[in-house]
């Protein structure tokens, strides 16, 4: 006997997981379709919002940093701890209307900050890019509405200038009102007055936040030159922009980034995970590494530019006196006594510099712990952040057992056997130990392609 058509026996399974999979897939697709539509519209609406509210015209050549807000900030420093960052969700164009402290607070949180490389990530050769970091000021360059503004890591304005970036000066044809702002992640290199663009966050209103590094770099390389921003300076283009050579982090790429000659002063190497999106704040998917050969600033210097005998760290004091790094969540390295706080007139949120004695540092389960912090001074208020945990660790390692270029090279597959024999790599011995065998003996391997061509 079989049941009436359409009558399901109560004990028979109610679930069709396959149907559920289908439905969940449809829900996901519908959500994503709506997300991409909203993204397309949001980019537009921010521009519309800008147009609908009259903006005071800025002179093309207004390069003076905003003076009044600067003062404003100085007198209300204590407020810093009271209010959180205003509306993190503000978009960049709205943010560009922020003034003074608010603007700085907002922009200070928009950069992707690499962690310091304290050990070599797996698949370095396959999943990462490497490039030589130009020495200089890291900054965020926004071009919109006929002008270009660069802001330092702490949010303060570095330059306010006309540029050939899209909508970066008044001379550009602004016929497409919806093609709006562009945002570049740059390092301003003083000696040749050049902005080296190390990442592209938005281009002509097209957000690249959710794109992989692979794609962002591809876009950066193809779009920046088109705009004319790489041209020499002119009346409507005050500073030259330039890309840096970016390599796949295989042996050849690592070698090129490390040792080839570039028109700028190097300050270490940057490693970017190819699959990572542009994530604001500290991220382990971008890493910085340096040694004495590729950076003048291998060991941290003090305010006089000298390397102090003891390692120094900058930590942020919390309301309960705990001293923390800039990580999220913060790492606690120590605590300040209540009477010390009272005597010194320190306030929560202050950044403080401490010296650490080597013997007070211990590595427990791979974690760095500091037994004794010696107060040195309060830190210059222009500084926005405490040190990150990885920076403290890196600096500690740098003084004792640094991660060397040989260690990096050993972790990547050789690209061409020929290059392995060439013994030039600065002054450094080039160690081959892909098989864990004796470094001096060359073992010839036929490299196995990791991906199908």
């Amino acid at each position: 006997m079989t049941p009436q058509e359409g009558r399901r026996p109560i004990k028979r399974s109610t679930v069709s997981d396959q149907q559920r999979r289908r439905e969940l897939a449809l829900v996901r697709q519908a959500q994503q379709r709506s997300d991409s539509q909203n993204r397309a519209r949001r980019l537009a609406s921010s521009v519309l919002g800008l147009h609908s509210s009259p903006e005071p015209a800025l002179p093309d050549d207004a390069i003076e940093p905003e003076q009044a807000p600067e003062l404003n900030w100085a007198q209300t420093e204590a407020d810093l701890t009271e209010s959180e960052v205003p509306a993190r969700d503000l978009n960049v164009v709205q943010a560009s209307k922020l003034r003074g402290r608010e603007a700085r607070r907002w922009f200070a949180h928009q950069l992707m900050l690499p962690e310091w490389m304290i050990d070599v990530p797996p698949h370095l050769d396959r999943d990462w890019y490497v490039f030589a970091r130009p020495a200089g000021n890291r900054c965020f360059v926004v071009s919109s509405n006929g002008t270009t503004i660069s802001r330092l890591r702490n949010g303060s304005v570095l330059h306010h200038f006309p540029s050939s970036l899209p909508n970066g000066s008044r001379t550009r044809d602004m016929s497409g009102p919806a093609s709006s702002y562009s945002i570049l992640d740059c390092i301003f290199h003083e000696p040749n007055q050049t902005y080296y663009v190390i990442d592209m966050v938005c281009w002509r209103g097209y957000s690249l936040y959710d794109c992989t590094a692979e794609f962002r770099f591809f876009w950066l390389n193809s779009k920046l030159a088109e705009s004319g921003a790489c041209n020499s300076p002119s009346t409507y283009h005050r500073y030259t922009f330039s890309v840096v050579p970016i390599y796949d982090c295989d042996q050849a790429g690592l070698r090129a980034a490390y040792s080839s000659v570039v028109p700028y002063v190097k300050d270490g190497l940057l490693f970017y995970n190819k699959h990572a999106h542009y994530q604001t704040g500290n991220t382990p998917l971008a890493l910085v590494w340096k040694d004495n050969y590729c950076s003048e600033y291998f060991l941290d210097t003090d305010s006089k530019g000298l390397v102090p005998t003891q390692q120094q760290v900058v930590l942020e004091m919390q309301d309960d006196g705990r001293l923390t790094t800039s990580d999220d969540p913060p790492v606690v390295f120590g605590c300040v006594e209540a009477d010390f706080i009272q005597k010194s007139g320190l306030q929560a949120g202050n950044l403080l510099r401490f010296a650490i004695r080597d013997e007070s540092v211990s590595l427990i389960d791979g974690k760095l712990e500091i037994g004794d912090l010696q107060f040195v001074s309060k830190v210059n208020r222009a500084r926005a952040f405490a040190d990150s945990y990885s920076k403290v660790f890196f600096q500690y390692a740098a003084r004792h057992s640094p991660l060397r270029i040989e260690d990096l090279a050993a972790s990547v597959q050789p690209t061409f056997l020929l290059k392995r024999i060439v013994p030039v790599f600065g002054r450094l011995p080039w160690k081959f130990c892909t098989d864990g065998r004796d470094a001096g003996l060359l073992v010839i391997h036929i490299p196995i392609p990791s991906e199908k061509g």
């Binding site: 009436q4 009558r7 026996p9 396959q18 999979r21 897939a25 609908s52 009102p177 794609f215 994530q279």
Partner: protein, 891 residues
């Protein structure tokens, strides 16, 4: 050759040819039923050729065969069957094709075929009559809607006055089939009245022949849909109901069964007309359930299940607001019958069959009774609990397994419906009892039902929406220990244990970081994998249940347990790899292998979606994508629809997770994408592939461009196809939007194809006459798809110098939105998309469309309505549209 020539000559002159062929046809038809495969194949081939070469002669000779009483019964029967197949098919497009071919035949040929068929109804051979009845109904199904064969019903009715019972019987059967075949609209009320009169007279106890009474009762079952007017007339309704109720007391079991089938059909079609008969019907059904043979008793139970269905639907529409107006009021028949109905149903639970749990298709009194009890619980809620509890308490500890099983089954059946407040205290007491029974009861039926009941407890009384948790940290471990152990039990019990675990996990799906399952996660996965590898996992759909549960476990993993899911990836990949390596399989083994591949692809899909959704796990997962993609491509090469669909869904998730990096797989994957888009027959595959195109667009963005020519060609073909299931068409329109958004102004070259299609679909859907909910729902899906296409295209062209290309379409788009607004039958989804498109239009075309928008009714009334909507999404779209419009209008 002669046949073709013959077809062009007048009918009279070809008669000799036909009779010659007809002679031969008998032998061919007999050969077609031969045990010798070669003979059979040859005969089938000849029939096919005959049909293709000369349809008229073919049909004539078949109908001649059918009508000739001197021919063997086997050849006559097959002649009728082949005739029927030449008129009707399952697939809609083939069905239409055959109908058209019949209609286009020479009128004299048709008349002769019909005459033969009607004449066959009087044949002394029952099989010939019965086959003719079906063929007549098929022809009626084609001709009556065309206002042809108007004399049919009259001539059938005149047959019913004949004295020979076999003619009467065949005629009533024909009327029954006819009512099944044609829709009530094409038969006028006068003829309906005559049909009903003939049918009800045939059912009357005074009719001497039981064959006639049975045929009449079955005919009434089909004719009920025609009796709307008669059921509104008190006297006529009383009469029909009396005849049906009398038939349930017939001496003949088949008549009683058929009469109860009529009552079931009446309960759903004429629920609101039943009030005055319910007392009698209860008496009749209760007697049948307790005393009659199983097929009759099952229909009697089905009557109550069907009343429950109706009341659940009505109460659902009330939406808890009992004062609301509804088309049909709830008469609370179940609530009123409850004190008598529940004991009757509980009695049935004790009539289990041995081995019913091992038999997938089993259906007996106990199963029907429990199913009905479950529906009653959903209908009346809390009221059922005190009526069932004494039965449970009395029987659950009895030595006879039937009593323990019935008690457990009763408990499991009433877990959906009553409020958690009512059930939670009972479940608290019952839970540990159930766990012990699942471990220790000596009887497999009891364990099976116990595991199922646990699953029901977790399904309905556990989860984030339940206030008082049934599962605590204390008993969670015990529950899991018992369930995992039961997975080693016999297949049917293990399958239920997997099901229980499925719902247990589902309840923790949105629990966040600290899932109580986390400490046991590794063990659970291990236990499920062990089940999938059991030798006997093919029985009782155990393997399927284990994989489905594994999927649910993956879905509810947390940051903490994500690494364990990551470890599962290579395990499932290896399993899939092994199925692909297996060679030289028997067809039976291959079928099993295919099923397994489907399950494994499904599992990978769930894993990909889970790991791909979080940044933290996504990168770790990327190490596997090359290999997974490689496996999927090999799966596609196996060509099986279900597996194809699962792999396609998985690839959609993979594309989402990998983003632009998916580009490297496109070359290898593209042929299968195209194949999926061409799969009209298995439209689910096609639908899913269309969805995957959307995923690819979002993943690859403008890098999808090189593949767009091929994709667009397929999509346009799909839209023009009348073979493709209609449900795939709205998503195809949405897909246009996805493509346009991805490739921006490069969509230019497709505009001349896509836009006219969108326009004509828009016109159709704007004015669709939606007389039922299904059509309205489909119409709205279509509108939504069209609007999503417009939205994507408009946004895609934004800030391009080519936006002007869209200007010619602006008027039409606005008109479409205006019409939707004035039709007032769009749903919330359409409303949100429509107001969004209005904004997109203003945003992309700016001041060029300002005046047009100003003139449209949408920009005022519709916008206002959306701005004041309670739906946040509609309001959000409307706010944006307002901003865009104000700019377009002012600038």
């Amino acid at each position: 050759m002669t046949d073709q020539v013959a077809a062009e000559r007048p009918l009279a002159s070809i008669s000799p040819t036909i009779s010659g062929l007809a002679m031969e046809v008998t032998q061919i038809l007999l050969n077609a039923q031969s045990v010798d495969g070669t003979v059979r194949k040859h005969a089938e081939e000849s029939l096919k050729q005959f049909q293709e070469q000369n349809l008229s002669a073919f049909l004539l000779s078949l109908s001649n065969e059918l009508v000739s009483n001197e021919k063997p019964v086997d050849s006559r029967k097959l002649a009728g069957l082949v005739l029927k197949n030449a008129l009707d098919a399952k697939e809609q497009h083939r069905k239409n094709e055959l109908a058209q071919r019949w209609l286009s035949l020479d009128i004299a040929v048709k008349a002769q075929v019909k005459a033969c068929l009607l004449q066959t109804l009087a044949s002394p051979v029952p099989d010939a009559r019965s086959t003719a009845s079906q063929v007549i109904a098929k022809i009626a199904g084609i001709e009556l809607p065309q206002k042809q064969w108007p004399e049919l019903i009259g001539s059938l009715l005149s047959n019913t006055h004949q004295l020979q019972p076999h003619v009467k019987q065949a005629t009533l059967e024909t009327l029954g089939y006819l009512c099944e075949e044609v829709s009530p609209q094409v038969v006028d009320q006068d003829q309906v009245n005559k049909i009903l009169t003939a049918v009800v007279q045939g059912m009357n106890a005074s009719e001497g022949s039981s064959d006639v009474r049975l045929a009449a009762t079955r005919a009434l079952y089909n004719a009920l849909g025609f009796a709307q007017a008669n059921f509104s007339n008190d006297m006529e309704r009383d009469y029909i109901m009396r005849v049906v109720c009398e038939a349930t007391l017939s001496q003949e079991v088949k008549i009683r069964q058929s009469a109860f089938e009529c009552l079931v059909a009446i309960s759903s079609t004429y629920y609101d007309k039943l009030a005055s008969y319910m007392q009698d019907i209860f008496t009749i059904t209760a007697k049948a359930v307790r005393e009659d043979e199983e097929p009759v008793a099952l229909q009697a139970i089905e009557f109550w299940s069907s009343i429950c269905d109706e009341e659940i639907d009505i109460l659902d529409e009330y939406g808890g607001d009992f004062t609301a107006d509804s088309d049909i009021p709830c008469y609370y028949f179940i609530k009123q019958a409850l004190p008598a109905l529940v004991p009757m149903l509980l009695e049935t639970l004790l009539k289990q069959e041995e081995d019913q749990d091992q038999d997938e298709g089993a259906w007996n009194l106990a199963m029907a009774g429990g199913t009905c009890l479950g529906l009653v619980a959903r209908t009346v809620g809390d009221d059922i609990v005190p009526l069932v509890m004494p039965f449970i308490e009395e029987n659950i500890t009895k030595p006879d397994w039937r009593q323990r099983e019935a008690a457990t089954y009763a408990f499991g059946s009433i877990l959906e419906g009553p409020s958690p407040d009512k059930l939670t205290p009972i479940v608290h007491v019952a839970l540990s009892f159930m766990l012990t029974a699942l471990m220790n009861d000596p009887n497999n039926h009891v364990k099976d039902t116990t595991a199922w009941t646990l699953g029901r407890i977790f399904e309905f009384l556990h989860g984030s929406t339940v206030e008082t948790p049934i599962i605590t940290p204390e008993n969670c471990q015990q529950i899991l220990t018992v369930l995992l152990q039961s997975m080693n039990d016999v297949p049917n019990v293990a399958e239920k244990a997997c099901g229980a675990l499925y719902f247990l996990a589902q309840g923790y799906e949105d629990v966040g970081a600290a899932s109580p399952l986390s400490p046991f996660y590794q063990n659970i996965i291990q236990a499920l994998l062990t089940v999938t590898r059991r030798e006997d996992a093919g029985e009782s759909r155990l393997r399927t249940a284990a994989y489905e549960t594994l999927n649910e476990i993956v879905r509810c993993s947390t940051d903490e347990t994500a690494p364990i899911v990551m470890q599962l990836v290579p395990v499932i990949m290896l399993e899939l790899h092994q199925t692909l390596e297996a060679q030289k399989l028997s067809s039976d083994e291959r079928e099993k292998q295919t099923e397994l591949q489907g399950l494994l692809c499904g599992c990978l899909q769930v894993i990909i979606q889970k790991l791909g959704a979080a940044e933290t796990t996504k990168y770790g997962f990327m190490q596997y994508t090359d290999q997974i993609m490689d496996l999927f491509l090999r799966v596609f090469a196996c060509r099986n629809a279900t597996v194809h669909e699962e792999a396609m869904l998985a690839i959609g998730a993979l594309a989402y997770a990998t983003g632009t990096n998916f580009l490297k797989y496109m070359q290898g994957f593209y042929p299968y994408l195209e194949m999926g888009l061409q799969n009209f027959e298995e439209y689910q595959v096609c639908a899913i592939t269309v969805g995957v195109v959307g995923d690819l667009c979002r993943a690859l963005e403008d890098k999808i461009l090189p593949f767009c020519d091929g994709i667009m060609t397929q999509l346009l073909k799909d839209l023009s196809s009348n073979q493709l299931h209609r449900s795939v068409k709205p998503p195809i329109f949405s897909c246009f939007g996805d493509i346009a958004l991805a490739i921006g102004e490069n969509f230019e070259k497709y505009l001349i194809y896509a836009m006219p299609m969108l326009q004509s679909a828009a016109e159709l859907s704007a004015h669709a006459v939606a007389d039922d909910d299904d059509i309205l729902e489909y119409t709205n899906q279509l509108r939504n798809g069209i609007l999503e296409a417009y939205s994507g295209i408009l946004q895609g062209f934004k800030s391009s110098p080519k936006t002007q290309l869209l200007m010619p379409y602006a008027y039409h788009i606005l008109q479409f939105i205006d019409t939707l607004y004035s039709e007032k039958d769009m749903d919330d989804a359409v409303m949100k998309t429509a107001i969004g498109v209005l904004g997109d239009l203003a945003d992309t075309l700016g001041s060029h469309v300002g005046p047009l928008i100003n003139q449209s009714v949408s920009s005022k009334g519709f916008l206002e309505e959306c701005l004041s909507s309670d739906d946040g999404l509609i309001k959000e779209s409307a706010d944006w549209a307002k901003l865009a419009i104000s700019r377009a209008v002012s600038g």
